[in-house]
């Protein structure tokens, strides 16, 4: 399977490329009052309004003052949403069994690519948003 890797601060993350709709450059975000902490706001994409998710906040609660440069627009079933990330890294070809689940409670999966540890975001994790 193919995965898209991206950077959040110094850490490398990845997700299944089949979920990716488009990748967009930074654009103005409309903040949503009283919303969940990890929702930065809304953007418009081809006439649709999509929520932008602060990927680092979604993964753990520590607030990093991050400057996002790119949005990864994901297609999750019927709905789309945008993940805010620092930088898009690469598209890699991996084998599905290379994804290791190291923490069952938190559904934490990693991939080992050339002795680089990449955190893999599963469909389930993303759907929880």
């Amino acid at each position: 399977m193919q995965i898209l890797t991206f950077l959040l601060k110094d850490e490398q993350f990845a997700l299944d490329i089949a979920l990716v709709d488009t990748i967009q450059n930074k654009m103005p975000i409309t903040p949503v009052p009283n919303s969940k902490k990890y929702v930065i706001g809304l953007i418009s994409n081809r006439g649709n309004v999509l929520p932008v998710i602060d990927t680092s906040l979604m993964l753990d609660d520590t607030v990093i003052d991050n400057i996002y440069e790119k949005f990864i627009i994901l297609n999750l079933g019927n709905e789309k949403l945008a993940l805010a990330v620092n930088e898009i890294d690469d598209v890699l070809e991996i084998e599905e069994k290379a994804i290791e689940n190291i923490n069952k409670d938190e559904n934490l999966s990693i991939i080992n690519v050339n002795s680089n540890v990449i955190t893999f975001l599963t469909y389930k994790q993303l759907q929880k948003i």
């Binding site: 103005p28 409309t30 949503v32 009052p33 929702v39 418009s44 309004v49 929520p51």
Partner: protein
Amino acid sequence: MEQSILNDFSEISSVNKNNLDKLLSLVEELVINKVRIEKMKNEVSENSHEKILDQELRIISEIQASIKKVRLIKLKTLANSLEDLVSKCNTEYNINVDLLFQGQETEIENTLVIYIHNILNYLIKDICENEFVASKNKSNQIKLTTSSDGKNFTTVIESNGKGFNYKDTCEKLNKKDLDLISFDEDEVKKFLDIIHFTNNIEDLLKLRLDLIYLDGSMKFESIANESIANEFRRLTIIIPITSSIMQGLLVKIGNQIFAIPLDTIETIINKNTVKTKKCKNTEMIIYMDHIIQLVRVSELLNIETVSEPSCIIIVNANNKKAALLVDSLLDQTDMVIKPKHSIMTDIKEIKGTTILGDGLVTLVLDIPSILKEI
């Protein structure tokens, strides 16, 4: 069978020929305008540009109006299926019920027809089963009156059966482990009102009073239930007719722009011209001899204000008024309201979003729900 009827409603709609012709001629005008715009490239003059833009705006607003009309369906389409239902109930329960359907010419939007069909279907079944079977009248009648004033759709269902009994309903609710029998009638009424507005329907579907067939996006404006035991029962249901295209007022709160649907706005006043009074932490203003609660929208939405609010917008929905305090007014604009993303469903203050000319997403305030919360 029922499903096929519903499919018919959603897929086939009869359109008044005049409406269609008008729409066609508007599209023709659009094409003519397009040619003019193309020609404009050669002769650039400020004047012609403005003229064409004016015309374009007029055509667009007329198209919007006629599209709304095209989507309307007469309630006559429901009459046959409701009559079938009544005759089915007659044979099933061995009763003699007449259905009188007034206001069949009322036109409503075709997506609403399905909901109304469901509600009426349910209520008629319910009345036959629970009121007529028990009453000993020889001839029973259900009188259905529908009307629409462009803003709200009103259905009145009258029946001359046993009437509606709060005690019975309480007992039924009690069986569901809800201790209601100890409440007095007013409290039960209040509780039932709450039920009508919740989306947690599953448990309540079997109760006679439950009318909520609707998904979360639909709301009743109001439900009134009058009943005299063994004489009659009258249920009045008012459903707001909303359209996704509407006009909105853009306001600034903090550093952010919000839109308020224009049809909820009664008037706009300068903050300096009215006096605010405080009463137990609630601010009030007196406007035309009415005392109206002042709502600081920035506090409601937890937004930091950068300047002292200067404008008061008096809004009105469901006969309830409030004065919204905003930083400043920006503009009036046409907007297309898009539904909220599922991630925002619990933010009640927001009705939806709209995309403005600059491509920025703007949040639309849900005035009825803000008024309900304060």
